[in-house]
Amino acid sequence: MELNLMVAGFGGQGVMMIGKLLSQAICDSTDYHVTFYPSYGAQQRGGTANCYVVAADDAVGSPKPSIVDQLIVMNDVSMVKFSPNVKSGGIIFTNSSLVKSGAGREDVTIVPIPVTEIAMELGSLKVLNIVMLGAYIGYTNLIDEDLVLDCILRLLGKKPEFIELNKTAFAKGLAEGRKAKAAHT
């Protein structure tokens, strides 16, 4: 197995948490080597944010590969900027509520998930990253969904209302991801 994933979006969209949760789940449930790299800059808020998850059977080389297999983009700017970095045959998961640009290329699969709208329907924009993580797992089936959910509940909101909200958001995303996968096969 070899995974090179980049997640990009606005600061505040929980971009880093998608990468962190996914890599934590890989660490907890598999023997893969996994590296999570949250790119950092000088800006504290309001800027763009991105991170990388690299996992492999063998030692991880660059934690920040210039070409990735998969890309999750949460806003339009990131789609324009980073879609050229996806290798041929790769997958781009987009927050279709905000991403209106296309990849401008035919050799990648686009998986559009309206996560901002879904999160708003669920009553909190805060969970849009959990919806996306659910969709990613639903589509890729990379690791067991229960293990990912376990990570979410362990690392995020300890308050009962957050637990329920995160569970619902993850389940909703999961269903959307599976639906998209079914449509592609």
Binding site: Y40, V60, G61, S62, K64
Partner: protein, 363 residues
């Protein structure tokens, strides 16, 4: 062994605590802020001391004071902050005060960039302060190595009564990786370690005892010279006994990579691709950049080897001087470099290797 998923900076801090560090002082600078932040939470839990100094200078000097009292002590910073610490580091080396410090390198010179670079190699291996002292400099490439090296660094520092440097970079400090943490030393073990230092530490000795005396200098030129001579004997002993290195495929290599830290992990992934393509590429990865693994270069078969490729995130290349000294002109040296906070790309290394192996390198 149970693995945990930890950020490089935090894993280093935890390894230090487990090794018995009970004093940490530091000053905020990116990309190592998670070390002081972690220590501020962790030290009080183990009866240790965390102090945020008013500057890097004060922080390293606090460590000098704590170390002079026999406590396992640590500081950390990044590049431009390390420059400020050089005064205190030189004092520790001169006065034989053990201490461990971390440099999570960023771009330079000056304030540079906050992203990862390897621009402080000269500083780390040649002149971490005035006076021409040397240190054991450990260069981890993964979070696990960073943890293991930090744990060991305190033993080395105490054995030699000398500073030990963990030379990382912004990537190592920032990434999260699975790691198996070393055993936590018990309170009794930590107390015993401190007690072992009591003879020389300035904890207060009665008039009947030999007093503790921490002196970074001498009034007598002959005494200072004798001190330098004895330090030099220690440096030479390191060269014989403390070199650590990873060597890959040196026996059949037509091209040998030399890289440390983050550059090395990327170079190694390039090596794997190239070997899979059938290219005979080897690698020397210094785990100690000081003492430098010069002897590894004697294991290369120069009848086969066309070239050594020095791979660093530094422009100009810095480690290349150690490489050239070790090579003694037995084959050509080429470089693959990035700088300014940009990482080495695996594909750039692969491309450069292809050029060299085809013989098409432009000088």
């Amino acid at each position: 062994m149970k693995k945990v998923f930890m950020k490089g900076c935090e894993a280093i801090a935890e390894a230090a605590v487990r090794a018995g560090a009970r004093f940490y002082a530091g000053y905020p600078i990116t990309p190592q802020n998670e070390i002081p932040e972690y220590m501020s939470r962790r030290m009080p839990q183990v009866g240790g001391v965390f102090l945020q100094g008013e500057s890097e200078i004060a922080s390293v000097t606090m460590v000098y004071g704590a170390g002079a009292g026999g406590t396992r002590a640590m500081t950390s910073s990044s590049s431009v902050g390390i420059s400020l610490k050089s005064e205190g580091i030189s004092y520790c080396a001169g006065a034989r005060v053990p201490m461990v410090y971390v440099n999570m390198q960023r771009g330079g010179p000056g304030v540079g960039t906050i992203q990862a670079a390897q621009q402080d190699y000269f500083q780390a291996t040649r002149a971490s302060g005035n006076g021409g002292f040397k240190m054991i400099v450990l260069a981890p490439a993964t979070v696990q190595e960073a943890v293991d090296m930090t744990y060991r660094a305190f033993d080395l520092a105490e054995r030699d009564r000398n500073p030990v440097l963990i030379l990382g970079d912004g990537v190592l400090g920032t990434i999260m990786e699975p790691v198996v943490l070393p055993e936590m030393k018990s309170d009794e073990e930590v107390a015993a370690l401190k007690q072992k230092n009591r003879d020389w530490a300035i904890v207060g000795h009665s008039r009947e005892e030999k007093r503790g005396f921490i002196d970074p200098g001498y009034w007598s030129t002959d005494m200072q010279e004798a001190h330098c001579v004895s330090l030099n004997e220690m440096y030479e002993r390191w060269q014989r006994e403390d070199v650590q290195v990873e060597e890959l495929y040196l026996e059949d290599a037509e091209l040998v990579f030399v890289a440390y830290g983050t550059s090395a992990r990327i170079a190694k992934s390039a090596l794997k691709l190239l070997r899979a393509e059938g290219h005979r590429v080897g690698m020397i990865r210094p785990l100690t950049v000081s003492p430098f693994p010069a002897a590894s270069f004697d294991k290369i078969d120069y009848a086969r080897c066309k070239c050594v490729l020095d791979i660093e995130m530094s422009i100009p290349a810095q480690m290349i001087y150690d490489v050239e000294l070790a090579l003694r002109e037995r084959c050509a040296v080429e470089t693959c470099l990035r700088s300014g906070g940009n990482l080495i790309e695996r594909d750039d290394v692969v491309k450069k290797a292809h050029e060299i192996l085809k013989g098409g390198v432009e000088r």
